[in-house]
Each structure stands twice: as structure tokens, then as C-alpha cells.
């Protein structure tokens, strides 16, 4: 689960990491009030950033500087309500603009291959790290944290020396890098990223200019499996940005991703679901979704899955492919029959059920006059043909 920048910053701050102040505003008025506060406190400018979970908000015009109340109002007006990659901006983060001396990248991820938390640092901060990785892989320094001990001081120092962040900032960097991993461990995150981590110029209480290392942006992706033991984190889920279908899918514990095609798919198992999509494509069709109903699905779950598929107006045919193991074929068949009984619109459906209780399922489906298929290849072809017929008729 991705969380918003402001929430990510809050988690970093809870771990003791240095994050400059910020406010979240849901209206132009709130944004202006927040901006006025920072400007009155002595900030020469404020930054106003769209809070969306998709990347590329900067390029899309979702990040603006403002040097006055009026500029802040203009910027907030421009950003709130804009659309970034299909997501409507409903809130902005407002904070004092930083006087940046140098930017770095610092991120921690769960690396499958090495089975380690890998911490990465680069002297090229503030830019897309994939770009850096492609252009100059040696510009990214990596340290694998010990699975039981976390990141050691010496590893953090090695990263610091690697990116040339030594001298007076060495100690700060060590604390931040270790805190990054602690943030990951304490919140069951898959990814914690600070980009940019920056040396900024600030004025201390005596009015002297001082430099310190701070997190100017933050990105955290939480492990869904860890959420049950962090009830507070579930509250950070941003329903504003979620498709109603995603919310429905989550409620029913379905793994669902909407796609652009016309063939709705319902399958048990992620690998088989992807294979089903591949075969739809191979038969000349386009899948409308990825949908894994998981193992042991009961009739009500099948019915919910069917509602999700039918809620997509693009869907012109449905392919159900179930290989029963834990999942019982007759349960699935009953769910399908139940769902069709109450559905609003007629969509051709091809059903293939094999494995556990496939015979009972077959009998039920025949009685209910469902179109069936024996093999996956056959099912895919029939579904594509059915969609074409509908599409042609439409």
C-alpha cells in the first residue's frame, strides 16, 4: 500500500528523522493560511505540492513555488483539482521552500533475490533514481542490512563516504540511514525512500546560517501482509485515490487490476490468471482485468468478483477459469449462477471448471445453460469470439 508524502514524512519523523515542517491543505483557503504562516515565520517562499500517489507530479505541474500570499493562492488554485495521470488532486502539501545546498538520494527496499533489506544512496538526488541506474549504475551505492541487526553504523558511513557526504554531516547521515531502515522495520514497509535528501541552509536561533541534512520528500510503500499488525497504518490508506472497484475488491479479498480490454477474466491463482490473460491475447482478444479470486473461494466471493467485472462497461464477454484444488468447482458454479440471477446486463460468459468437484460444477452449469469449455485454450477462443460478436453487434 502506497501512502501519501505527508504520511510518509510523519512516519520518518516518528523515527526521529529530520523533516522540515509541512501542512496538508484540502482547499485553497487552507493552503493560503498555511502559506501565510510559513511566510510570516521568515520563509522567503513556500512550496506547494500535489498529494497524489502516482509519480511524475513535478513534470505534470503539480509542484509550485510561491513567494507571497497571492502566489500561494494562484498555485493552490492551479494544483487543487488538476488531474495527474488520471488522478484528481484533492489535497496539497504546503511547506517552507528549502535553501538547498546539495541533493542526494537515499532509499531502502526489500530485495527478493538477496533476501535482504538493501539501502541505496546516490549523490544524484532529486531525479528519478531509475534514470540514474540506467545512465550510471556505479553512481548508486548499496549496502545490504543484516536481516536481524538492521543497518550498521559502518554501513551507513560507507554509503556516506561513497556519495561524498562526509565531514560535519557524517553523523547526521548515519542516523538518517539507520532511521530509514528502522522506519521500514517498525512499519513493515517494502520501500522507504527519501528523494531528495538534502543539505539545506537554515538560520539558527541566533540568526546564523547553518547547514543540516533533511528529508525534503518521502515515499513509503507498506507491505499489505504487515498491515494487520499495524492498525494505525491502515488509516493512512488514501481512499480518495482509489477506484471504487479497488475498494470493493479489497473488501472481498480479491486481487483485482483493471485493464483496457473487453474480456473480463475470473481465475483462481495469480499465475493461472496471468496465463489466462496471455491466452486471451493469443486468441486475438484483450483482457479487461486481472482477477484472482484466491484459494478456497466460496459462492459469495465469486458473486462479488462477478459484480466487479460487470461494473466495467467495456466488458463484452467473461471468461471464468477455475482449476479446483482448495477451491471447489461446485461452489464457484453456484456463485456464478447466483450472480447472473441478479445482474443488470447480459454478457456472454464462457466457463471452464476442472479439478475438485468439477463434475458437480459441470452439471450445475449445464442446468443453468452456461457456455462451458474443456480446456483453457478453448475457453479463451470462445470468449474472444463471443466478445467479437457483441462488439460487432454494438
Amino acid at each position: 500500500m502506497k501512502i501519501q508524502e505527508a504520511d510518509a514524512k510523519q512516519l520518518l519523523r516518528a523515527e526521529g528523522l529530520p523533516v522540515p515542517p509541512w501542512s496538508v491543505a484540502r482547499s485553497v483557503k487552507e493552503a493560503v493560511t498555511a502559506a501565510e504562516g510559513y511566510l510570516a515565520d521568515g520563509s522567503g517562499a513556500v512550496v506547494i505540492k500535489a498529494q497524489v500517489l502516482v509519480g511524475g507530479r513535478g513534470k505534470a505541474g503539480g509542484v509550485k513555488l510561491a513567494r507571497s500570499r497571492d502566489e500561494a493562492e494562484t498555485a493552490a488554485n492551479a494544483i487543487l483539482g488538476m488531474s495527474i495521470k488520471g488522478i484528481t488532486v484533492r489535497k496539497v502539501l504546503v511547506g517552507p521552500a528549502a535553501d538547498i545546498v546539495k541533493e542526494f538520494y537515499l532509499g531502502a527496499i526489500l530485495d527478493r533475490a538477496s533476501r535482504r533489506i538493501v539501502v541505496m544512496a546516490s549523490a544524484e538526488g532529486g531525479v528519478e533514481i531509475e534514470e540514474v541506474a540506467k545512465r550510471d549504475p556505479s553512481a548508486i551505492h548499496r549496502e545490504a542490512a543484516h536481516p536481524l541487526l538492521g543497518l550498521a553504523d559502518w554501513q551507513a558511513r560507507k554509503l556516506a563516504f561513497g556519495i561524498g557526504l562526509a565531514g560535519p554531516h557524517l553523523k547526521s547521515f548515519v542516523l538518517i540511514a539507520k532511521g530509514l531502515v528502522s522506519t521500514m522495520l517498525h512499519n513493515d514497509a517494502d520501500l522507504v525512500e527519501i528523494n531528495p535528501l538534502a543539505i539545506v541552509r537554515e538560520r539558527d536561533a541566533d540568526g546564523n546560517t547553518v547547514e543540516r541534512v533533511v528529508a525534503l520528500d518521502a515515499k513509503i510503500v507498506l507491505d499489505d501482509s504487515g498491515l494487520p499488525r499495524h492498525p494505525g497504518l491502515e488509516a493512512l490508506r488514501d481512499l480518495d485515490e482509489e477506484d471504487p472497484a479497488d475498494i470493493e475488491a479489497r473488501i472481498h479479498d480479491l486481487s483485482f487490476i483493471r485493464l483496457d480490454g473487453t474480456i473480463g477474466c475470473m481465475v483462481n491463482g495469480a499465475g493461472l490468471a496471468m496465463t489466462t490473460m496471455d491466452l486471451v491475447k493469443r486468441a486475438g482478444g484483450e483482457p479487461a482485468n486481472f482477477l484472482d479470486i484466491g484459494g478456497g473461494a466460496r459462492a459469495d466471493k465469486v458473486a462479488a468478483a462477478m459484480r466487479l467485472i460487470l461494473a466495467d462497461a467495456k466488458v463484452q464477454a467473461i471468461l471464468v477459469n477455475i482449476f479446483g484444488g482448495i477451491t471447489r468447482g461446485d461452489e464457484v458454479a453456484r456463485g456464478l449462477i447466483e450472480a447472473r440471477a441478479i445482474q443488470d446486463r447480459e454478457v456472454p460468459m464462457v466457463v471452464r471448471i476442472v479439478g475438485t468437484n468439477a463434475e458437480e460444477a459441470g452439471a450445475l452449469l449445464r442446468d443453468a445453460r452456461f457456455e462451458t469449455a474443456a480446456t483453457l485454450d478453448e475457453a479463451a477462443e470462445k470468449a474472444v469470439a463471443a466478445a467479437r460478436a457483441v462488439g460487432g453487434a454494438a
Binding site: 509519480g55 532509499g107 531502502a108 527496499i109 526489500l110 530485495d111 527478493r112 533475490a113 533476501r115 535482504r116 533489506i117 538493501v118 541505496m120 528519478e128 533514481i129 531509475e130 541506474a133 548508486i140 536481516p147 536481524l148 521500514m184 522495520l185 513493515d188 517494502d190 520501500l191 525512500e193 515515499k219 510503500v221 507491505d223 501482509s225 504487515g226 494487520p228 499488525r229 487490476i257 485493464l259 481465475v267 491463482g269 495469480a270 499465475g271 493461472l272 496471468m274 496465463t275 490473460m277 496471455d278 491466452l279 486471451v280 491475447k281 493469443r282 483482457p287 486481472f290 484459494g295 482449476f323 484444488g325 482448495i326 476442472v354 479439478g355 475438485t356 480446456t375 483453457l376 485454450d377
Partner: protein
């Protein structure tokens, strides 16, 4: 012979008194698996599966009383890491974790300790393994198998069933079929299983089933190219048409170093001498073409 599970398997079922555990334990016993014990803390002294299997409070008691050497877990996600560690620390050498939904950072710690103890963990979130005619451990339907000499390894559950059923329907039997699970952190990967198959005198060919994401299939291909040059090898990769970037974050994409696409995996496998199927149903024909009789 076979790998990981077989006639020598003496299985202890963790969570045997739960709904899932009891159901699948019965299936395994019906298949002929030698279930010697169950473990449910607090229910020691009871008997499960119609009185045929003693239940213990601890793994230590189960091993002491029955000589159990293999564990399979049907316990909740919150309890599974502890159960895996109990099993390996007490001396179980092979552990299958069927449980899904275990936080990845828990598994990070668990696999580290499993390694320390020199044990093998398959999973979590995996369907288990079956050596047809000998034993099945996990949840793979027993009916799809046929005894034979093709080793099957897969990240998926039902996709594996599909492939195995196709082989069985075509008269091609299996030595052992293993689902390793698709979670971010797993105990045994494709390469680990290939190494076991390479040592197994009764495995004459292999089928590798993979998915997009990560680099496990590429790594396995590289290993097989070097160590299994003369073994017939067939593969299938799911997700050729799946849209990219639906799960991976920035840093993940970097780590995987550009690999992870279906195309990259297919190329790597083909370069390593695998015949790569376009659909699971093609697998039997490719096995024949690769020399399997």
C-alpha cells in the same frame, strides 16, 4: 527416489486440529503420506484423523515420540514464523509453509535462521510438493499426478496443476512436483530445486514454470545451462501480456536491473537450452520433442 518428499517422509502437521489443517492432513493421508504427528500447542494428548495421528504440544515432543523429519504448516500468518523456527530449531530438516499473508520482513528473519540451522524451507504461501505414488505434502490435488521421471518446479499453484494435468493427460509422469510460492521472500527458489533435481537419479527431465517479476527464472536458467546441459528442459512463463509496473516501486525496478519481463525470461531460458511453451498445454509436446519418452 524423488526430492524433498517421498517414502522416507515422516510428516508432522502443524495446525492439524484447525479446519484447513485437518482437511488437508486427511487428503495427504489418503494419498498415502506417512503422517506421524500433529502439533497444536495446548492440544497435546489428543488424536487427529480418526484417532490415527497423535497430537503434541511441541515439535520437540513430536520428534521425540515419532521421529518426524518433515513439517507442513497450516497455521495462521501471525503464528507461522514462530512455527517454522520451532521446527528447524528442534531439528526438522524440511519445512513446507502453506500459510499465506506472512509479512515479508518476518520471512527475512526466518530464512536467515533456517539457513543457520542448515534446514530447508519451501514457501511460504506455496502449494507444497508431491512425489507421485509416494507422498504429497501440502495442498496440490493428488488426482492430477502420474508417476514418472519429470521434475516440475513452479512459483504458482493452480498454474502448476494445469501444467501437471496436461502432462498426466499426455501420459508423461512426474518424479516430484514442487510449488515454491510467489511471496517476495521465499525459502527455496527455482535454482535450489533444480540443484536437487540434478542430483536425483529418478528425475530425467525438468519443467520450470515461472512468472514475470524478479530474476529467479533467469538465475535458474543460467544455472541449468551450466549444470543440466544434457537434461531435457521445458519452461513456461506466465504474464507475457501483463502490464508493467503494477507492483514494483522505483527501487525495486532498479534492483531487478531491467530483468523481470516475460520476454527477458523467455530469452534467458531459450538461451539456456529450455524449450519454452506458449501455453501450458504445449508443455507435453515440447517434453516429447526434448526427448522425453
Amino acid at each position: 527416489m524423488s526430492i524433498l518428499v517421498g517414502r522416507e517422509t515422516r510428516l508432522v502437521v502443524h495446525g492439524i486440529t484447525g479446519r484447513e489443517g485437518e482437511f488437508h492432513a486427511q487428503q495427504m493421508q489418503d494419498y498415502g503420506t506417512n503422517i506421524v504427528a500433529g502439533v497444536t500447542p495446548g492440544k497435546g494428548g489428543q488424536r487427529a484423523l480418526h484417532g490415527t495421528v497423535p497430537v503434541f504440544d511441541t515439535v520437540a515432543q513430536a520428534i521425540h515420540a515419532t521421529g518426524a523429519n518433515t513439517s507442513v504448516l497450516y497455521v495462521p500468518a501471525a503464528a507461522a514464523p514462530d512455527s517454522i523456527l520451532e521446527a528447524v530449531t528442534e531439528g526438522v530438516k524440511t519445512v513446507f509453509c502453506i500459510t499465506e499473508g506472512i509479512p515479508a520482513l518476518d520471512m527475512l528473519r526466518v530464512v536467515e535462521v533456517v539457513r543457520e540451522y542448515g534446514a530447508r524451507l519451501v514457501g511460504p504461501n506455496c502449494p507444497g510438493a508431491t512425489s507421485p505414488g509416494r507422498a504429497k505434502v501440502g495442498i496440490i490435488p493428488g488426482s492430477i499426478h502420474r508417476e514418472g521421471s519429470v521434475g516440475v518446479v513452479s512459483r504458482s499453484g493452480t498454474l502448476t496443476y494445469e501444467a501437471v494435468q496436461a502432462m498426466t493427460d499426455a501420459g508423461i509422469g512426474q518424479s516430484t512436483c514442487i510449488g515454491i510460492g510467489g511471496d517476495p521472500i521465499i525459502g527455496t527458489n527455482h535454482t535450489d530445486v533444480l540443484k536437487l533435481f540434478a542430483e536425483d537419479p529418478e528425475t530425467d527431465a525438468i519443467v520450470l514454470i515461472g512468472e514475470i517479476g524478479g530474476s529467479a527464472e533467469e538465475d535458474a536458467a543460467a544455472w541449468a545451462a551450466e549444470h543440466m546441459a544434457d537434461v531435457p528442459k521445458v519452461a513456461f512463463i506466465a504474464g507475457r501480456t501483463a502490464p508493467e509496473g503494477k507492483r514494483m516501486g522505483h527501487a525495486g525496478a532498479i534492483i531487478s536491473g531491467g530483468s523481470g519481463t516475460a520476454a527477458a525470461k523467455v530469452t534467458a531460458l531459450e538461451n539456456a537450452g529450455f524449450l519454452v511453451a506458449e501455453t501450458p498445454t504445449e508443455i507435453p509436446a515440447l517434453l516429447r520433442r526434448a526427448g522425453v519418452s
